[in-house]
Symmetry: C2
Subunit: 512 residues, 2 copies
């Protein structure tokens, strides 16, 4: 943090000056855990999985199709390359991974909102990728840029959300080859929280870097991580050339990537937890090793998007105990690699922000906190297996993220917390509501929802007997009405506008 | 278990013969954890809390009002008794607690459904105590005996529920002084799972023991625990003479009691976690010590019903992080006393079985599993801060209890679980759906909901776009339609009928 702040005196000056003028809403600092991690794997199990992952890399190998440059790097590093198949000698991938940093400071244009990803920290970012949106008034529909902007505004206003995310929904009304420009522009101008870059083409990753150059200063970007982007692995064990191309752009420019299998267990990985963890480890070792071949020291996060399947229908299932086992186990594996870890989120298969959605989401959020996740993408707003970004669920989940902050605080044990004076003052049969200790501690003692209903039945009934979704609809409206754009240096804003206009004019629209 | 089975050759013969004839629905065995407990308190914090609890007992003491018999027992044991105040010298309460057994086998009339409470086990029992019920069709209304019977039937049919519970709702259409007879009769005849006894008067506890004498055989009851009943402490630090009278009846008859503070933190205990834990420990030490004064070796469970408060409205709040801290901490304290531990449940303040209800419930259920709870009362069906038993939420929560069973299994690491053959067979770019390992393992690999929706959007939409509550309404109806009463020896049934009739005729109805 201190080092980043010093560097900011260089290229980040304009951003910092703008930040000082911004109308700002309260955002909690990223979570610094004061509780232990929960661990389900024994030392013996961890060693077996690590040995098996090495065997997978050495005997079976991984594919880097349509990517002669990557194959050349691998060959040079000592791998056995046959066609697109890369077999990595035992221990090599792990050795290459050792140059990756164990924590990453991602700088935001409002420096109070920088996040440190790694260690005992947890950074929360919103839903990523859905082509549809849903709200109570409009139902389920294709997402548009107007929806995208609303989600960025809601994220900016959400106290417990540290990160603005990336593709909070797919703006399907904007050409595929141009929407990344509008999305980045929205994150940069409608919010001052950290954000993600585009990965759908290497050229779009380069656009992301260039736009950050305008926002933060070109040199500043080379010396600081200002984006964290999502590089998915095509499980099992295939590294798509487009994704690898985007990874290369980011690694070369010192920008962070999550390198993450995307696994529905039983389909893209074995149906067993230990088998899936073996594959997750083999894949992330290969992907992270590759990032270090591109640029030793490139900032990367070990990812694990893993869930289970309903074997009857083939549908993915979320918030399940097997997903929890994998998430806990992958956390242990990441810590043994000394790498930041991404997993968990507001996952659900439900079509509505109903009880199913909340059960599954709570299961996953709690597991994410306890498994030591450092970067939680999809921490709010995910619905219908990731096909839908839900406005109501976004604010519902974002409210629940407050519970993770308070859980992570752990238990204080100083004299004030011991409260012996209060117990003496009140005594048997008394009550604590009015006692001195309660009066001086109650404000910060308990997490309090900004959304959920705690009213007596009669009051609740008189006010319309609203369920959680209805309360959330009202909260979405209120937050959007209260939204105020954070200030930004007009020169930077103009330069961003001009960059987007120029790049859009440079090629014809494409919708595929 | 072996010892109980041997003893059953005596008085339990009739029950066993009947059980063999019963039409029976599948019930999972109680949970035997193969995962660690989650611990939030350091050794230092635990010692401070234990020392403070001893200080509370010695310096402040606890009240046993209107109970000269209890005061005499305490005086005899070496306590300083002044009026109704009992001050317990440092270490005495803990020493008295050491005669309580560390595990309790509660026998069911279907011996396959015996539960072992303690150790690494978790036994799940339904909601207890609400005066109201709710379902989608009928809304919120006072509970009746017909409702009660439906809940007992649903509990009997619920695969993941090990226990029939007690007052699953208050049958308000039956006189207060007689409803315990009908409730016990329902548990004994409509289900074959273990159940709880009455605590609202010592005479009603005696009726419970006498009815168990009919069901199991009189001698059998004296030698086996066949009931677990709920003894609440009037926090702070007051032991109600009615509850203590019921405890005495049960302890003298070898029947188990949960001895449990009922605390809304900030009102009945200090607003801090460490302070609340100190009071919880002092109260349970005093209550359990008293049970051992009545009968050394009496089976007891250390309880902690503790939640937080909304300091603005004074309403209790559920599924909160502070409740989690207390539940985790109390589990650590219980294990250091080597006593079975009761806490957590399907807690929520919501008025409806909606997303709020599910968030709060999931938070509490997950915490209950990880905190080492041995007996979870209220594991399904609780709504509106415990004022309402919800039919829909009962089956929704009961379904989620399956996730706890699967989570508790931990992660297998044998050769089959390692799945290296599958990874070799499938290779990069393949898929696992058809591979041999998947085919031979998928049936038991993943927990599967019997309720939640995993269907594609279009199918779900065509089928009426139902939310979780609607799915649950249908499941309640189906389970009640499928219900078949477990067989019971007609002579026992007649004797139970006659006992209830005789006891009802012996005194006039009272509704207060």
């Amino acid at each position: 943090m201190a080092e980043s702040a010093r560097r900011a005196r260089g290229g980040g000056g304009a951003a910092r000056r703008a930040a000082r003028k911004a109308v700002s809403f309260e955002t909690a600092r990223y979570i610094e855990r004061n509780i232990p991690n929960f661990e389900v794997l024994t030392e013996e199990a961890l060693e077996i999985i690590e040995q098996n992952a090495d065997a997978v890399l050495e005997e079976i190998g991984v594919n880097f199709p349509d990517n002669p440059e990557a194959l050349a790097l691998w060959r040079e590093a000592g791998a056995d390359v046959q066609g697109e198949r890369v077999r990595i000698p035992r221990g090599l991938a792990r050795k290459l991974c050792s140059t990756a940093p164990s924590t990453i400071t991602q700088v935001a244009r409002n420096r109070d909102r920088d996040v440190v990803i790694g260690g005992r920290n947890l950074v929360l970012a919103p839903v990523y990728g859905p082509p549809f949106v849903r709200d109570a008034a409009g139902g389920r529909r294709y997402a548009t840029m107007a929806d995208f902007e609303k989600f960025v505004k809601l994220g900016y206003m959400s106290k417990w959300l540290h990160h603005s995310g990336g593709t909070v929904c797919e703006p399907t009304d904007i050409p595929v080859n141009k929407r990344h420009l509008d999305m980045l522009h929205a994150h940069m101008t409608l919010s001052d929280k950290p954000f993600m870059g585009s990965v759908t083409e290497p050229s779009r990753a380069q656009d992301s870097v260039d736009m950050c150059g305008i926002l933060f200063g070109k040199d500043f970007v080379q010396e600081n991580t200002v984006m964290t982007s999502l590089i998915n692995i095509n499980s099992p064990m295939t590294f798509d050339d487009v994704m690898m191309g985007a990874l290369k752009v980011y690694a070369e420019n010192n920008q962070a990537c999550i390198i993450s299998p995307f696994i529905v267990g039983g389909a893209m990985a074995p149906v067993s937890v230990a088998g899936t963890l073996t594959q997750v480890l083999a894949e992330t070792l290969a992907g992270i090793a590759y990032s270090q071949l591109v640029r030793p020291g490139a900032p990367v996060i070990m990812g694990a998007f893993v869930t289970s399947i309903d074997m009857n229908s083939g549908a993915p299932t979320f918030g399940t105990p097997e997903a929890a086992h994998i998430t806990y186990g992958a956390g242990q594996l990441a810590r043994r690699l000394n790498l930041p870890y991404r997993s968990a989120g507001s996952f659900t298969g439900s079509k509505l922000p109903d009880a199913q959605a909340a059960y599954e989401t709570s299961n996953s959020l709690n597991m994410g906190l306890l498994s030591g996740v450092n970067f939680m993408l999809h921490a709010c707003g995910w619905l219908e297996g990731g096909l839908v970004s839900s406005f109501e669920k976004f604010v519902m989940d974002a409210d629940q993220l407050g519970t993770l902050h308070h859980l992570a605080r752990g238990v204080e044990i100083d004299v004030n917390a011991q409260a012996m004076d209060a117990i003496r003052e009140v005594g048997p049969g008394g009550h604590y509501l009015g006692c001195a200790h309660t009066q001086s501690n109650f404000r910060d003692a308990f997490w309090k929802s900004d959304l959920l209903d705690y009213k007596p039945f009669e009051t609740w009934s008189d006010e319309g007997a609203r369920d959680t979704q209805s309360l959330a609809t009202a909260r979405v409206e209120k937050m959007l009405a209260d939204y105020q754009q954070p200030a930004l240096d007009p020169a930077i804003r103009e330069a961003l506008d001009a960059f987007v206009a120029t790049r859009k004019a440079a090629e014809p629209d494409s919708f595929s």
